[in-house]
């Protein structure tokens, strides 16, 4: 395997011969979520499509194709030596910025310019930017001191974060900009910031948010969504329409759910965007607490497998990439599922591997593939992660 690289990593063959067995739990969890996601997308879209006089399996077919591409990307990334990415991270970062800027030349969809329209399909560069940001932060933080990071390193990292965040914020895509913040803070901490530095960073972020809210830099709908969640509980009627419907739909699933294709509300497309951002409502209604908790368990398995990969990585770059991917998953899962249950604002972050859509699925598959590549090339003995 030859990849353009200024500095070839230590022979991959040598590592490969001593490679660890694949992480079966990680792969099974991911593939199971993908398969279940296809089924959920079908259940949430077939009646609406049939009603519109279209092929009811249209989204099913599309999602299955995306999943197929995702599996291929995941395996491909696993086989590639992840250390090349450390050297390529600046090129990846630069091209990401280019594509993020390119979307502003495209027409908007739902009032936002997030897509690149290519013949036959469209891509959301911001999904891939999430992976690119993890790679570039890991590359920058890898040489940093393990205990007590220099402020200068933090500053450089923040500089690199600023450009894609600003471009994404302008699209406007508040959710993705928040993803960067969360992922960065987790990676900073893993790389060696002190608690004091962490508090300063988080404090600055919160003050920054407050300023943005008060200076009116947010689009009206963004501000309203944030505020609606902040005041939630005081008066449920003020909560977002989507969330009210979403709560009713999930809640009506009760303990065991109504059964596949038996979700009266899902079949009637009661919740807007139920095949994409609100796909979790289809799980909640049809499979109840039992099914929804099982899905949570699958995400938990992925998260802790990623932490384990991070802990056993042969180098700091791999450690940081894996924990960055874990943070990415944790944030998406928490914000998306939390949104469907009205404890998080409506941000438009997809549920990894389940929401309909190709860009997110492909980017997430690549992220898991890179992490798995780190696992396959670990040299450290598996040590127990110390729980404080």
């Amino acid at each position: 395997m030859t990849i353009l690289s200024p500095q070839a990593p230590r022979s991959d063959n040598e590592l490969w011969s001593k490679r660890s067995p694949p992480d079966v739990v990680l792969l099974v969890s991911v593939f199971a979520l993908m398969a279940f996601g296809i089924l959920m997308v079908y259940s949430a879209s077939r009646d609406a499509l049939a009603l519109a006089g279209l092929d009811e399996g249209m989204l099913l077919t599309r999602q299955a194709i995306f999943a197929g591409i995702g599996v291929v990307a995941l395996i491909g990334m696993s086989l590639m030596d992840y250390r090349y990415l450390q050297h390529l991270s600046m090129i990846i970062y630069g091209s990401t910025l280019f594509f993020l800027a390119l979307v502003f030349t495209q027409s908007s969809r739902n009032g936002a310019k997030r897509w690149l329209f290519l013949p036959g399909f469209s891509l959301q560069p911001s999904e891939f930017a999430k992976v690119a940001v993890i790679l570039v932060l890991a590359a920058l933080l890898a040489p940093a001191r393990e205990d007590g990071m220099r402020w200068k390193v933090v500053g450089v990292c923040l500089g690199f974060l600023a450009a894609p965040s600003a471009l994404i914020f302008l699209q406007p895509d508040l959710g993705t900009a928040l993803v960067f913040g969360f992922v960065a803070i987790v990676m900073f901490f893993a790389a060696g910031t002190t608690f004091r530095q962490l508090f300063v960073l988080v404090g600055t972020a919160i003050i920054g948010m407050a300023l943005i809210l008060n200076l009116g830099l947010l689009a009206d709908y963004q501000e309203q969504r944030l505020r609606s969640v902040l005041s939630l509980g005081a008066d449920a009627r003020d909560a977002d329409y989507n969330q009210l419907h979403s709560l009713t739909t999930i809640g009506s699933g009760q303990l065991l759910g109504k059964g596949l294709f038996q979700g009266a509300l899902t079949q009637r497309a009661f919740v807007p965007e139920q095949e994409t951002d609100f796909i979790f409502t289809a799980v909640g209604e049809q499979f109840g607490f039992a099914g929804a908790a099982t899905v949570l368990a699958a995400y938990a398995a992925i998260l802790f497998r990623l932490v384990r990969i991070s802990a056993t990585s042969q180098d700091r770059f791999g450690m940081l990439v894996a924990i960055g991917v874990a943070a990415l998953f944790a944030f998406h899962m928490f914000v998306n599922i939390g949104m469907t249950m009205a404890i998080m604002p409506v941000t438009g972050l997809p549920l990894p591997f389940m929401s309909a859509g190709g860009s997110s699925l492909l980017a997430m598959s690549m992220a898991i593939g890179i992490s798995h590549s780190i696992w396959l090339r670990r040299t450290k003995k598996l040590t127990k992660v110390r729980v404080p």
Partner: protein, 633 residues
């Protein structure tokens, strides 16, 4: 801090996130699950169709002639009213709308069980009352219903037509129509209905099984799209003048013109260069508004009897009388057949008219003109000016003698047809009549299909189609019938170099924001290649008819400051009502002399002599068109 410890902290954070979700999930699905379940069972998704606002109709200057406004109206859905509640709902509605409960019950019965119907407009207060007392109004809904308004009242009513409720026949023709919507029934409203309809939207909302709205949940609205705008070729100011002149001229004529029993008539102004209708009037008329919320049977009956719903400009078929002589004139020139009278002068031939036609070889006995005295020496040109029957009869005789029994006997009819008679002109308005040009073939058909249309003596044993019939055709009498629009089209082809138009009242279709959707151009139905002899003389001869010392139109136009700008031809056709002869007045005018642009046709049914009963109306319209002061009759 070691990396392992840092990762441990992060794991702890992940555990907390997961536990938060799990706890919330338990709370939503298990603890509060039954509440959500009950709420979900209660929900019912209702869809209400939002009628699209009908497109506007504008005149050529962009003035709105027909538009639509939304009014809140009560819609009763009888399918939702249980039988035991019917009486109480009627009682409530009667109290609210101040309608006699018996009348309301009748409306309910008329609509039938399960029907959905619009009951009538309501104001804000009534709407609020209904919405706050929904339990008392089961099956009653308040909807915004678009209503047609005609800001200019009955102006150009016959061109606009009217709209009405969608009937089963309408649905059969266009299944996309909404059952409780409206559809154009006549005129432009009908002809261009598909452009005017627009796209309906819908309102989706969550309701309790009782039908009550659930508060706090915004309905999902899919906007309707207003229909396109139809821009007419008609000029409102000219239309106002045309209608006023026609109406006042008919009333004035009935009182002042000899033998006039005028009650109805029609007027058309057309641009001879483009085939565009600039104004079109028919009298008596009606209010298109009356149809919007339904017209009573008695009202409809009364208006029908006066032909108020008929656009006489395209549906009225009258014998054109002497206005037809211009067509015989064209035949004579183009076929080279002139009068064969005593003396022979240029061009072609003149005759000495002494008021009697001598026709020794005619199948019938000789006929006398209506005049007691002759016109003296007349040629084709002067004959048109003084409307000399003897001369045109003589042309007909010439054709008859030369072509009797062969296709050549139909020269006049052939020319009439090539000028657009005997068939609808194809104007973009429905119910157009085709007129009638008789010939041997028609009479032969009648013998088989409609013998009552022929005089007894014709059927057996006498000859079926005789020279006298052709002589009647030559002067536009007898069985010849034409609509005012057909004569306008024929005259315009005579003075515009030979273009026979398929006229249009609509210029273009636009979106509501003014972008062009379709350009509606008049179509050239036929193109005649006039000979030099016809082309260079016809306009002058028509002007002489109006202005010559013996011109039949002279008197009517003498009030104009520049009558030499106007040419035209009078017509007086005779029909028999209970054996009594009654004259119908015609005038077809063209102007201006140096650059013929307009043709104006006026017919006053039973209006007496054309020069007296119709020409003054045309004169007023030309005074307006030429920018003169419009003088009274």
């Amino acid at each position: 801090m070691k990396t392992e410890l840092r990762l441990g902290w992060i794991s702890l954070a992940f555990v907390m996130l997961l536990l938060t979700l799990l706890t919330r999930l338990w709370f939503v699905q298990v603890a509060e699950g039954p509440i959500h379940m009950a709420a979900s069972e209660d929900l019912r998704l209702n869809e209400q169709v939002i009628l699209a606002t009908r497109g506007e109709i504008m005149d050529t200057n962009g003035r709105v002639i027909a538009s639509s406004i939304s009014v809140a109206a009560i819609v009763v859905d009888r399918g939702l009213i249980p039988d035991e509640e019917k009486a109480s709902v009627i009682q409530e509605l009667s109290g609210l709308l101040e309608i006699d409960p018996n009348d309301l019950a009748a409306r309910f019965a008329e609509a039938g069980p399960g029907a959905r119907f619009v009951l009538g407009e309501v104001d804000d207060g009534q709407v609020r009352f209904i919405l706050t007392h929904l339990q008392r109004f089961t099956g009653v809904e308040v909807e915004f219903v678009p209503t047609r308004v005609y800001p200019e009242g009955d102006l150009m009513a016959h061109v606009l037509g009217y709209i009405g409720r969608v009937s089963p026949e309408d649905l059969e023709r266009d299944p996309d129509l909404l059952r409780h919507g409206s559809v154009g029934k006549a005129g432009v409203e009908s002809q261009y209905d598909s452009y005017l309809q627009g796209t309906p939207g819908s309102l989706l909302y969550q309701v309790r099984p009782s039908g009550a709205l659930i508060s706090g949940i915004e309905p999902l609205e899919i906007d309707s799209k207003q229909g396109n705008t139809v821009v007419l070729t008609i000029d409102t100011r000219l239309q106002v003048q045309t209608e006023q002149s026609l109406r006042e001229g008919i009333v004035w004529g009935a009182a002042n013109v000899e033998n006039s029993r005028a009650e109805r008539g029609a007027a058309v102004v057309m641009n001879v260069k483009t085939g565009e209708i600039l104004s079109m009037a028919s009298y008596p008329t009606f209010e298109p508004d009356a149809f919007v919320l339904g017209i009573s049977t008695a009202e409809y009956q009364e208006l029908s009897e006066t032909f108020a719903f008929n656009n006489l400009a395209i549906q009225g078929q009258f014998a054109p009388g002497s206005t037809f002589k211009a067509i015989t004139y064209a035949t004579a020139v183009e076929e080279g057949i002139y009068a064969t009278g005593a003396s022979s002068q240029t061009p072609g031939g003149s005759l000495d008219c002494d008021g009697l036609l001598r026709a020794n070889d005619l199948d019938e006995s000789s006929t006398k003109t209506f005049r007691d005295h002759g016109h003296g020496i007349v040629d084709l040109h002067t004959a048109l000016g003084v409307s000399c029957n003897i001369y045109f009869w003589d042309v007909a005789l010439g054709i008859w003698n030369a072509g009797k029994g062969t296709p050549a006997e139909n020269f006049i009819q052939d020319w009439a047809r090539s000028l657009g008679l005997d068939a609808p002109t194809g104007i973009d308005l429905s119910f157009e009549a085709s007129g009638q040009i008789p010939d041997r073939e028609l009479f032969e058909e009648w013998v088989v299909d409609a013998p009552y249309r022929l005089h007894e003596s014709r059927i057996d044993p006498g000859p079926l189609w005789v020279g006298g019939d052709l002589m009647n055709v030559a002067i536009g009498q007898g069985e010849v019938l034409a609509t005012p629009l057909q004569m306008a089209v024929a005259y315009s082809a005579m003075i515009n170099g030979g273009t026979v138009w398929e006229p249009r009242v609509v210029d273009r279709i636009e979106t509501t924001s003014g972008e062009l959707v379709t350009d509606i151009a008049p179509v050239v139905a036929n193109k005649i290649d006039w000979s030099e002899d016809f082309d260079s003389f016809i306009m002058d001869d028509l002007i002489r008819t109006v202005n010559g010392s013996e011109g039949t139109g002279r008197k009517a136009f003498s009030l104009m400051s520049n009558p030499w700008q106007v040419g035209g031809k009078t017509g007086t056709s005779t029909k028999f009502i209970d054996g009594e002869p009654v004259d119908t007045a015609w005038f077809v005018g063209v102007a201006p002399a140096n650059d013929p642009t307009w043709v104006v046709t006026v017919v006053v049914d039973e209006g007496g002599n054309g020069g007296a009963g119709a020409a003054p109306i045309v004169r007023q319209i030309f005074q307006y068109l030429l920018g003169e002061q419009v003088d009274p009759f």
